[in-house]
């Protein structure tokens, strides 16, 4: 079963892919869909919670920082299971230029520090076109697993 917006670049079965306007009001729906997906692929309740919060923080960061004075852009949320590496991969991509963090007592920095606290690895990859945040969570060991 394929979730998320259709017609986007051939999303494989079982993966999650949403593209939405980078607006705060759109994120709760994505968060709930992601929670449902993460539970269904077999992550523990604790990891589902961590994955959902970290992914939400990445999306919120895009909403707040990606599109400065332009009209609103979009963000892409993707999630898939990497069977080979035994992990879940979540990416959040926007196509804007991140504003430098505001000097407001470090309040905004908490989002990024949360992401780092919730994932074993998180990478933020800026490009000329935008930014992708990539996060991983290990899949639980399957009983009677193949090699």
């Amino acid at each position: 079963m394929n979730l998320g917006q259709h017609d986007l670049d051939g999303v494989p079965e079982g993966d999650l892919h949403f593209r939405v306007p980078a607006a705060a009001g759109r994120l709760a729906g994505l968060r709930h869909a992601l929670a449902e997906w993460a539970g269904r692929v077999g992550l523990s309740d604790e990891d589902v919670e961590a994955l959902v919060l970290a992914s939400y923080e990445a999306m919120a960061n895009s909403v707040e920082h990606a599109y400065r004075d332009e009209t609103q852009g979009v963000l892409d949320l993707r999630a898939r299971v990497d069977d080979e590496q035994g992990r879940v991969v979540v990416t959040v991509t926007d196509y804007g230029q991140w504003k430098p963090p505001e000097p407001s007592g470090g309040l905004r920095g908490r989002g990024l520090s949360l992401i780092q606290g919730l994932t074993t690895t998180a990478t933020i990859t800026p490009t000329i076109d935008g930014t992708t945040v990539t996060m991983f969570w290990p899949m639980p060991e399957r009983t009677g697993d193949a090699s």
Binding site: A24, G25, L27, A28, G29, R31, H32, A35, E36, G39, R40, D45, E46, V48, E49, V52, L53, Y56, E57, A60, V63, E64, L107, R108, R110, G111, S113, L114, G117, L118
Partner: protein, 126 residues
């Protein structure tokens, strides 16, 4: 702590946004917060706290026991309100568990703000 799934995958209900119920307790005011605190709902939380703060209670308790999602936008509001309260109102939070206490612990908020596991403790502590 509860072993309930983070989201009930069986139903397809959209989660509620945010609700804040203000309950006076003598010299204190308790805000019963329920639902999800994120970028979209954090301003509403801030407004509720500010309105309660304007009444100048001795103690203001923000009870997050019924909150099942807390994002950094919500934490920023709580910290801002705490800073505003300094010297005027005793600002306390009630939170336990992985949805609320753990994120606050991860960002070091637990060092800055008094957080209690129950409302009773928040109300009766010195």
């Amino acid at each position: 702590m509860s072993s309930e799934p983070f989201h009930d995958a069986g139903t397809n209900q959209p989660a509620p946004g945010l609700s804040v119920l203000v309950v006076p307790h003598g010299e204190a005011v308790v805000l019963n917060v329920a639902g999800e605190i994120d970028l979209a709902t954090a301003p509403q939380l801030g407004e509720s706290i500010n309105a309660a703060m304007a009444q100048q209670p001795e103690t203001l308790v923000v009870d997050l026991s019924d909150v099942d999602f807390l994002a950094s936008a919500g934490m920023a509001v709580l910290i801002g309100c705490h800073q505003q309260a300094q010297g005027n109102v005793r600002f306390r939070i009630v939170a336990t568990g992985s949805a609320t206490f753990r994120p606050m612990e991860l960002t070091g908020m637990t060092e800055e703000i008094s957080i209690f596991p129950t409302r009773d403790e928040a109300l009766t502590a010195d």
